[in-house]
Symmetry: C2
Subunit: 324 residues, 2 copies
């Protein structure tokens, strides 16, 4: 394979000029640029990124840390991150943290050794000291630290709108499946639920529930037995909402006629169940795309005009509510 010296010779410029061109650092005349591009094409030269990352202390690898790629919210996010990264010639290393700070730290250590260019992190380790590293980080979905740029959904307002819709549709005895206590987005969604319901002449039950299917089914079974008069469910994730839907149907409840359900997330799966799930949809692709563009700006030394992006969620009315 051709090396940088041969490219320089073919282009009639110095090796230093080719290096400046490849690393996009320093001045290269337009004529030199054209000659180098032609030489690269002619010799089928592939710049050696590993060698370059040694000299510039920068690679084009982005680490994406998510809790679990099999949770249906995260493949859609990962897809957006990868699409945008690729369009800027970056590639994405996928890391599942399982919400485990030690596993996160192991990843951060392994990847920092590879001169990773930056991280996009969907984590809840607010106080993790291992994020005190010298590469750019963007927090996605969940804030990590005030100093770290963040892309989130407006969870409070989204939950308020979703809960208000249940009230508008006539629900008067509502369970909030509030997600895990202490998880930022779940806590914010509970705030929105409370904003919509407090001071209203209705009954509410706030019940902790993980964002996983089978445990959510068990939670739903328990409260549907304990409070048979419940006529509305606001769930802090679509996975929990779908679990409640399935359990309610198995227990002979008619959704939406005697029990209405609103989820939160807007994952594709919500369209696949019967009836389709009414939900507060996050713009998942837009969140991933935004975070990736912010990170690449930081990696390339550009200034961020906005450090905290809060994207609106949107109510998507489908079949698990009765309409107003």
């Amino acid at each position: 394979m051709a090396n940088i010296k041969e490219v320089a010779k073919n282009a009639g410029v110095s090796v230093a000029t080719v290096s400046r061109f490849l690393n996009k650092k320093g001045y290269v005349s337009e004529t030199a640029k054209e000659n180098i591009e032609m030489a690269i094409a002619e010799l089928n030269y592939r710049p050696n990124h590993v060698a370059r990352s040694l000299s510039t202390k920068q690679s084009n690898l982005i680490g994406l840390i998510v809790p679990d790629i099999t949770n249906p919210f995260f493949p859609e996010l990962a897809r957006a991150v990868e699409d945008i990264a690729l369009s800027f010639d970056y590639t994405v290393v996928l890391c599942n943290s399982d919400e485990n700070p030690e596993k996160e730290e192991q990843y951060i250590n392994m990847l920092t050794q590879k001169y990773i260019a930056g991280f996009i992190v969907s984590s809840n380790q607010l106080t993790s000291p291992h994020y005190d590293i010298d590469v750019p980080i963007v927090a996605l979905d969940r804030a990590i630290h005030p100093s770290i740029p963040t892309v989130t959904t407006d969870n409070v307002e989204g939950a308020r709108i979703g809960t208000q819709y249940l009230l508008d549709c006539g629900a008067t005895n509502i369970v909030c499946m509030r997600g895990p206590v202490g998880l930022g987005p779940a806590d914010d969604r509970l705030k929105g639920f409370l904003q919509a319901t407090e001071g209203k002449d209705i009954q509410t039950h706030i019940i902790e529930s993980p964002f996983y299917f089978e445990p959510s089914e068990k939670v739903a079974e328990k409260f549907l037995k304990e409070f048979p008069e419940v006529d509305g469910i606001f769930a802090s994730s679509d996975t929990s909402a779908i679990a409640a839907l399935k359990m309610a149907q198995a227990m002979g409840r008619d959704v939406p006629n005697d029990l209405q359900i609103v989820g939160f997330d807007g994952v594709q799966m919500g369209k696949m169940v019967s009836p389709s799930l009414t939900t507060v949809a996050q713009d998942i692709y837009e969140m991933g795309a935004y975070a990736t563009k912010m990170l690449i700006k930081m990696i390339e030394g550009q200034e961020l005009l906005e450090k905290n992006i809060n994207i609106s969620a949107e109510l998507v009315v489908r079949g698990t509510t009765r309409g107003e």
Copy 2:
């Protein structure tokens, strides 16, 4: 941060010995090993993987190429690959090919420049010349080339069993949603369907259908209108099966009492719909784990005892069939 010279000095050995130790190449005495390990711990030394990959022409990055991570089969596969890779100190670069040979080639080129250690590829580009590269490859789910080690499901036998079960449950007029023509696993599943149905006194309809939800709904709507007497569906993917279930219910069909459905894949989503999907379940995690272990063996220069692994699929009976 400490460098390799300081480690050598602290351990009382030469830099070359530390380097042999780090790269696991050549002889290092047990005493030297212990001293080096202590020095590394004491100095909190992080070996520089980028510099090492330059000297050994090897990194611990694995490229995972899948058609689309948002197709629910692939997150479960990616999860297994990442789990096993991490346990061997490898990390995974995620690539969505969209079944587009040019995009695959772009990835292969970008990653080969980074001295990627190997690729796991779930692709259908049988004749792609860009796989003629000098790093190990394992094909997963879909065979690429006879020379490339492959991990697949026994699709023919799985489909035969799934179809036979529909017959055993009394279906006599069956649609096979056969997936995309020319896609290896889909073609094999059609073979299994034909093995089970040929020569039997039943009616069959073989209909092409993509592995995506909305297009599968349209396909199902069309054939349920055209052949209202259909009483069984064998779908080549769970996504298509779930689309058919939803459409059938929307058209007033009673599943499983007057229409039975069997899917193929065994993704988590099959448990979330009502009724739960009867399906031919691939051992998705095992497939990903197997492929990753094979690839790491190849990367580390060990011999593969088996080059082609064909894992059995298993019928999982749930609610979209009536039972025998």
